[in-house]
Symmetry: C2
Subunit: 297 residues, 2 copies
């Protein structure tokens, strides 16, 4: 079944809050702050990628929703913590005040912790349903492991650390690549590989899709860096120019805008070439990476 | 095999750093800050409880070390975030400067995020080894779920939120109970139930040990509240009196010191009575809860 990005996105958004573990009314602020950021919009790129990658392998999107939603919980936690005064100190995200501007930095820290913990709870709860289905359980553990790797100290958290430390370092290509590979790319690779495991993909498809995801993830971050320079506040839903102000080590800062656009284009073509290795219909993924190249928000 | 608390503690401390996922040298600060707090000492109560609960059920402590260490990673993350300026703003922990005093609040936030993510990575990595052992895999998923529940928004994170919000609320018994049940108790229950699952305990033992853990967890937190009043900086490794200063809702604040001591004693006896329901040798657990009652640090 081939669906559009917006169709996948709608399934995710319709189910996102429903997966939250029950929170006692005495911790209502925790629920409110988590729900505030979960429902603040966003592309839902990671969960959509997981669902589409699962279906590409022959799986069923509806049955792996817990993993897609867990991905968005993790992504949302990372944005809340990233926006904190102790980190990037951003006041605006997706056109709305950031979590800590509404709930204070203490609750925002806990909302992030709560979202990250909940992501794992959601996945474990699902695994209980597959105790008697060996292959399904195995694929679920593999998917959850891929997600945790993408999110953790061999992925996003390492990238966030390097991003923060990059502000006080002389720009250098090796360090910039490390930031890009980990800050954004690792979670995108995690989403695609998790979806592939959940759909029981064969090794060949998994390999091509992993390479595709690496190109997509890098191109996504370069586009993000470019938009911070050429984007408008209205389109971005946040203030542009903050990377430069903070002295962030970005692609344009190191190579200039033209070279960054060229690299973005090359990565897009490389991503598409990996799709051509796959015999199933990959039009969804080609459209996605091409749209990424020209996005304005 | 019956071991002492210190014997279990040594196994945990000997293995704690070894379970950390490989961190790239470019994110060395992340590794350093995580390792700093992991090796800063502490009782290691949660991992020891997990190991001992597993062995009580007939399991083998050495084979469930990933879960014990994961518990300590989660506990350590919670302390780092709890100490942050945006939370309790503590400068001293276990006689040493808190993580953010050494690495700054940004890196400390990420070190906490990294420890929490790593805990789950460590457990998933272990599950890979049991793909062909249905019962062992099932018990491992159950244990990881119990740990995630204790750590998350139905446990510790909810308790931390209530603890923070309690500072600006009029003291009331229902809210205080909620703080105690979640802030500390939930993770202690998580440790014991996880250990029981890993040791393949029968339902009867699991029920008694869960009740024991609830009493132990509550008594631990009441003792903590009392020590904040009567303890010394040397013994505690942190400044006493900080709860009162912050206007924390604690047991002594609501009921006074005498009543708190009485409650602590009653809980100890109740914990021991639950142990008497178990036919195996529970001397370790009785000694532990009795020691908790009279601890000075």
């Amino acid at each position: 079944m081939v669906r559009t990005f917006d169709e996948y996105k709608k399934i995710v958004e319709d189910n996102l809050l429903g997966y939250m573990p029950h929170i006692d009314p005495l911790a209502k602020t925790l629920y409110d702050s988590m729900a505030y950021s979960l429902t603040a919009g966003g592309k839902r790129l990671r969960p959509v990628l997981l669902l589409a990658s699962c279906e590409l392998a022959g799986g069923d999107a509806e049955s792996v929703l817990p993993y897609a939603c867990a991905m968005e919980y993790i992504h949302t936690y990372s944005l809340i913590h990233d926006d904190l005064p102790a980190m990037d100190d951003d006041e605006l995200r997706r056109g709305k005040p950031t979590n800590h501007m509404v709930y204070g930095a203490g609750i925002a820290t806990l909302a992030g912790d709560g979202l990250l913990s909940s992501a794992f709870e959601i996945m474990y709860r699902d695994m209980y349903l597959f105790f008697d289905k060996k292959n399904e359980l195995k694929n679920r553990v593999k998917a959850a492991y891929a997600i945790s790797k993408g999110a953790g100290v061999r992925g996003m958290v390492a990238g966030q650390t390097a991003d923060l430390e990059g502000e006080t370092k002389e720009p250098n290509p090796e360090f910039l690549d490390f930031i890009h590979m980990n800050k954004t790319c690792a979670m995108i690779v995690g989403a695609v590989t998790a979806g592939q495991y959940l759909g029981n993909a064969d090794d060949e498809m998994l390999k091509s899709m992993t390479s595709y995801a690496e190109c997509l993830g890098l191109s996504f971050q370069i586009a993000d860096d470019i938009l911070d320079i050429v984007g408008t506040k209205e389109e971005l839903g946040k203030n542009p120019g903050v990377d430069e102000e903070a002295g962030k080590m970005t692609y344009p800062a190191l190579y200039g805008l033209d070279e960054s656009r060229k690299r973005l284009h090359d990565l897009t073509e490389k991503a598409v070439s990996h799709l051509s290795e796959i015999k199933e219909d990959t039009a969804f993924f080609e459209k996605l990476v091409r749209k990424m190249e020209t996005r304005t928000k």
